[in-house]
């Protein structure tokens, strides 16, 4: 696997990638079907969707029904991908995803856009800091928090053929370039994006870019962090995490999510049972979202490279 991270952002925004990828998946696979709840415009699928109503099912602002319809389509032999904003793709339809989806063994992929601070100007009502926590409690669910566009494309493509409920949380705008185009990812297999000996930093979604910036800052002070992209928050790659902390002796998790129930908790479960080491978290304190540009919100909620660097030093000092 080739890492091409150099700090630059991918010129392609997620919205534009989704707007071309979803029609391509439909063209490639006659069983693929896409459903949306009046947010096709937001991921660039509206024009294609209107022209192809048998491949793109407009459900209106009725997310619970959309999940049920998707599950019924799955029972009929389709591979549904359904999209809405993160809070509606998690909180609002939790019971439908849990029962009509996972419990009933109807295989669906749920795309929840604009997780956490990437909801930005839509504000607190649209800002899910708890979606990962919810999905982690659904037996058999797989949770993706893609760190770059190459990964987004790959996990979206493979999700349609994976069993169970798959949840993909991604912002509609920028992500840093991390992986060489065409890179293939495996469920439950993390990627060591940068090697280091002093502290393991596991960072998902937009926080990987912040972790890599923190790595650069810390390297100037002689601290070398190992940066890991978990790829899936559930299942979490125990093997890679354990091997890394055995080398570094401590761990920091960085996530665009409430401090409760997300990536950090998944990692703590691994550490507690296998190799207890000092650990810390860069995440949203137990509070609600608010409105503002993403850059402001990252500072407001402590989701920056500076916060990661500080936390690494504090945790490493406890070794």
């Amino acid at each position: 696997m080739k890492i091409i991270y150099d700090g630059s952002m991918d010129p392609t925004q997620a919205k534009s990638l989704l707007g071309s990828l979803i029609p391509r998946l439909a063209a490639e696979d006659p069983d693929f079907i896409y459903l949306d709840a009046d947010l096709m415009s937001c991921i660039g699928t509206l024009k294609w969707g209107k022209a192809n109503p048998d491949r793109a099912v407009e459900c209106g602002i009725a997310e619970a029904n959309m999940v049920g319809v998707a599950c019924g389509l799955a029972a009929s032999g389709f591979k549904p991908l359904l999209h809405t904003f993160g809070p509606f793709a998690s909180r609002r339809v939790f019971d439908q995803v849990f029962l009509s989806g996972a419990y009933a063994k109807n295989d669906i992929t749920v795309l929840g856009t604009d997780p956490g601070v990437t909801a930005a100007l839509n504000g607190g009502t649209h800002m899910p800091f708890e979606d990962v926590a919810l999905y982690r409690t659904i037996p058999t669910a797989i949770i993706f928090d893609p760190t770059d566009m190459v990964q987004l494309e790959d996990v979206l493509r493979q999700s349609k053929d994976l069993p169970g409920v798959k949840y993909i949380r991604v912002g509609r705008k920028d992500l840093a370039k991390v992986y060489e185009p065409g890179t293939h990812f495996t469920v439950g297999k993390a990627v060591v994006v940068r090697e280091g000996k002093d502290c393991t930093v596991v960072a998902s979604g937009i926080m990987l870019h912040e972790a890599m910036k923190a790595a650069k800052m810390l390297a100037e002070e002689g601290i070398e962090i190992e940066v890991i992209d978990p790829v899936t928050i559930k299942p979490i790659d125990k093997k890679t995490v354990i091997a890394s902390v055995k080398k570094t002796g401590c761990l920091v998790a960085a996530e665009n999510h409430n401090k409760n129930g997300g990536l950090y908790d998944a990692l703590l479960e691994v550490l507690a049972e296998n190799c207890p080491v000092p650990a810390g978290q860069v995440a949203v304190e137990d509070e609600f979202g608010e409105v503002g540009p993403q850059s402001y919100l990252q500072k407001r909620f402590g989701l920056t490279a500076e916060h990661i660097a500080e936390k690494v030093k504090a945790v490493a000092a406890r070794k």
């Binding site: 079907i33 048998d54 099912v57 459900c59 209106g60 009725a62 619970a64 029904n65 959309m66 999940v67 049920g68 319809v69 998707a70 599950c71 019924g72 389509l73 799955a74 029972a75 009929s76 032999g77 389709f78 019971d95 439908q96 029962l99 009509s100 419990y103 009933a104 063994k105 109807n106």
Partner: protein, 282 residues
């Protein structure tokens, strides 16, 4: 329908009631009221209207049944046993450890159960997805959806009804079990929904209201749902909760009730006597 066929359907409905009561009695109590109220519908669906093959329950071209009021599982299991999907002996495993017959219907456990339901409201959307899926796959088959009147308290039911109409799902037939009661009492006292038929019409359904405990009326109404067109179909079944067993019908709070040995003997003896009468008629 000739007299002979009508008698056969009445016999089937009584057999389903006996089978449902057998399952519930083996446990000592259960959802008697809402299971009995749909037995005539189950008899007409399995005995006449639906295209099914008990030997091949996953046949893709079959007509599907979604019992969104999943707590009527014992009624459905009664029908499936009568149709030969599994043996009568299995009925007495209801809710016991390792059973294939859980309290609420589960597509992964019971042959002949087409969808998992139980969290009220959710089956309506699932049925819409199944009907849409069959249409998109070009399958010549329909989905029948049994919804409770109390279940219509759930907002998701109305989201699904709007969707069915928007997508012109004429291969979907909603059978609304208007049995007037829910767990805590009368539907009209708990959360009155007004005129179900008027609401369904307003949502864009081709709607009929019939006595859903009369197999002949129901069969005639179902015949009219075969015509295709561009509307989903609805039949509001003017039902009695606990139908077919007078003592249960007359029990005001009959959603989930015990069934003693004496009651079981008395109720099934009554149903068997009716079967004997209809056999003579036929």
């Amino acid at each position: 329908m000739d007299k002979k066929e009508a008698a056969a359907l009445k016999i089937k409905a009584a057999e389903i009631r006996i089978a449902a009561l057998t399952a519930i009695h083996s446990l000592g109590s259960g959802h008697v009221g809402g299971s009995l109220s749909i037995c005539d519908a189950l008899a007409v669906l399995f005995g006449r209207e639906m295209k099914t093959d008990p030997k091949n329950p996953k046949w893709p071209e079959r007509d599907k049944l979604v019992t969104s009021k999943g707590h009527a599982g014992p009624g459905v299991y009664g029908a499936l046993a009568v149709q030969g999907y599994f043996s009568y002996e299995e009925l007495t495993t209801l809710n016991k450890p390792g059973t294939h017959l859980p309290s609420h219907t589960d597509r992964n456990l019971t042959p002949g159960v087409d969808m998992t339901t139980g969290s009220l409201g959710q089956g309506t959307s699932l049925a819409c997805g199944m009907a849409l899926g069959d249409r998109l796959k070009g399958r010549d088959c329909r989905t029948f959806l049994i919804v409770g009147d109390g279940e219509c308290d759930e907002g998701q039911v109305w989201e699904a009804f709007a969707f069915a109409s928007a997508k012109k799902l004429s291969n979907l037939v909603v059978l609304l079990d208007w049995n007037k009661k829910q767990l805590d009492g009368r539907v009209d006292e708990i959360l009155p929904m007004g005129d179900y038929a008027a609401k369904l019409n307003a949502f864009g359904f081709d709607t009929q209201v019939v006595n859903g405990n009369d197999v002949e009326e129901l069969a005639a109404a179902l015949e009219k749902t075969r015509e295709g067109g561009d509307k989903p179909y609805a039949i509001v079944m003017d039902n009695v909760k606990g139908a077919g067993v007078k003592e249960v019908e007359e029990t005001e709070m009959n959603h989930s009730i015990p069934v003693s040995d004496d009651q079981f003997e008395r109720w099934t003896a009554g149903l068997k006597a009716e079967i004997a009468k209809w056999e003579e008629e036929a």
